[in-house]
Symmetry: C2
Subunit: 379 residues, 2 copies
């Protein structure tokens, strides 16, 4: 026996509501616990694109904070709560599910805002506030926006604690998809094939040396490996030149009005044109952006954007999610593709996602490859 008992795995925010009876202890073991590590907080705090966006959103729109009450959902180290206080908030409730709350409290004190920022250990689903708030701020975005399903907690916080006149930080979010090229497709296929070669060698040895025929497990082993190598989306920091077609928005979220229901199943049809001469279509890249626009009654003075699009110099810790298609397809500038995408939550873990692409290619040469459907897991 030998196994990797959950070490650095957990997470930061929500838990019980809106997720069909998830066991809180299991959710903590699987998700929250990562966010209890300062090392992990530091990784997020070192993401300058992320930091700059929130910093500028707050300090270039101080009118949203000055003299106001703020709720920070999943405060982590407490940075957004402290910035809100520095921008003049009268009161900030900083809610954190993990023991990171103790560090946040220390940080607040060391920065002399203990009279403004109140750190509350708990989930927003469980805690109670003495008043409604003017602003809800949160950094809730997971890979490809919705992984982690933490926005559920922000919605819960909004419905319970935001004043009718309140504003959301961020106020809007969008999911993007584009066709890409990537050498990873070949690499992953090689990895898969070499894992199967290994398996067949193992079968032989187990039969010869230990008298047991394991052949019946070839199919499930192959399926398991296929899922791991070929059907699981990958974190990648794409270079802009790897994007070979026009990106499409597949989902727009107004954080003030979004419901959990509309996040449970994200569906879109889009078309894209190949913009590169004679290249390879290896699959799709997925990313997101969020905007800080205030509300229509109370708009931002300076709109701020946080984008996780492929970028040469401004990559983020979110990178992009890459969905590889095998084998890659030779494409030409002007080739069109009609794509349907469908994303649902994994039945086993509501914080993980399953994505299905259906793609029909219309090549300018006149040939028309067979449409294909590919399913992926965001793990």
């Amino acid at each position: 026996m030998e196994n990797s008992i959950n070490g650095f795995a957990g997470g930061r925010a929500s838990s019980t509501s809106n997720n069909g009876g998830v066991d809180k202890g299991v959710d903590f073991a699987n998700y929250f616990c990562t966010y209890a590590y300062l090392y992990h907080q530091k990784e997020m705090l070192c993401d300058r694109v992320r930091m700059d966006a929130y910093y500028n959103a707050i300090f270039q729109n101080k009118q949203h904070f000055h003299g106001k009450t703020v709720l920070d959902v999943g405060t982590g180290s407490g940075i957004l709560a402290i910035w809100s206080a520095q921008a003049g908030a009268r009161k900030v409730y900083a809610v954190e599910a993990t023991k990171m709350s103790d560090h946040a409290r220390e940080l607040v004190k060391a920065n002399n805002f203990e009279h403004v920022v109140e750190v509350i250990e708990g989930t927003v689903e469980d805690i109670s506030l003495p008043e409604k708030v003017d602003v809800i701020i949160s950094e809730w975005m997971g890979y490809f926006l919705l992984r982690e399903s933490m926005f559920d907690s922000v919605i819960c916080a909004r419905d319970r604690w935001l004043k009718p006149t309140g504003v959301m930080y961020p106020s809007h979010a969008r999911m993007w998809v584009a066709p890409i090229r990537s050498g990873l497709a070949d690499q992953k296929m090689t990895d898969f094939e070499s894992s199967m070669d290994d398996w067949y060698k193992f079968l032989d040895e187990t039969k010869t040396d230990y008298g047991v025929d394991m052949g019946v497990l070839t199919k499930p082993f192959s399926e398991e490996q296929k899922k791991y190598y070929l059907q699981t989306s990958m974190w990648n920091n794409l270079h802009p030149q790897q994007v070979i077609g026009v990106p499409a928005i597949i989902k727009e979220i107004d954080c003030l009005t979004a419901t959990v229901e509309e996040l449970l199943h994200v569906r879109a049809n889009f078309s894209s044109s190949i913009t590169l001469e004679n290249t390879r279509f290896s699959g799709f890249g997925g990313w997101f952006d969020v905007h800080f626009r205030g509300s229509s009654q109370n708009p931002a003075r300076q709109e701020i954007e946080l984008t996780t699009a492929p970028s040469q110099d401004n990559g983020t810790h979110w990178g992009q999610q890459v969905f590889l298609v095998h084998p890659p397809l030779r494409v030409q500038e002007g080739d069109k593709m009609a794509v349907s995408i469908s994303m649902t939550r994994s039945k086993e873990n509501h914080r993980l996602m399953e994505v299905e692409f259906t793609c029909e290619m219309r090549q300018s040469s006149g040939t028309q490859p067979r449409p294909f459907t590919k399913k992926f897991f965001i793990e």
Copy 2:
């Protein structure tokens, strides 16, 4: 936000009894789930030292199996159950907590033993058998023997289902410790120092660019990193020449009579002499062996040993656990050390361990370095 929601982390065997009210769902999320992957099963099935030991133990002692009833605790792929059947068992109950049970059932059928081997999905704590058994076989050993605390389940199975005349496979187990030398001590210290250098750079930038003084988190961050880099034991495949002193047995277990109570706190005092000329003492290596000896009434015809000691050619997937001491100490042949070791289970997770070494060195040169106490986490 970004986090690694539990992917390939889980495990194989026990759950509720003897562990002070562990939540079964959490235990499954943290531990069992790894063992549901064929990839992980294959890793264990490819460990030839492990395979040979169990194979020889069974087939060189067929008299223990012929016409007998057998219980396999945590059967995984079902290999030990099938071997038991091949050795002539009348009936084998193969208990498996994870969905690997489905694969085990298929494998049993494909090898034509469905009339002998009954695969039961469940934990031995929960399931019920129609009869008592002559043999309990199990591969329950974790890193440094007791990590995973799976032997608890074997004890439970034994107390519930083994006939008074029954035998245990394996029948005995021992834990070993020896002083070692290793370049990892320097590497880990460098990693720790570079992580702290990074932290101070981060502090400066966060103060300058984002107006928040994170200095108050330096102590907890440093403690977290120290725990990670310097106080967590490491898997390592030690070369025999890295063992610089006489190994000592710190615990002997008779699998027929052991109790969970005696495993909760392993304590030993031992002495060791340095056997290498002018070398560096970098810490301790820990490993285990198990023996298949049958019982005193029903001894094995051929005693088989499975050892995970440092070996040039016969390494195992268990490797050794390495407990590094900083800074390393220059030692000479003949130097003596008196060591106390104490191992308990982690309060947060009963399958993980905490180990404390107290070491007093008596150098042949006459100088006597200060005794030290070091605490480690087996994660």
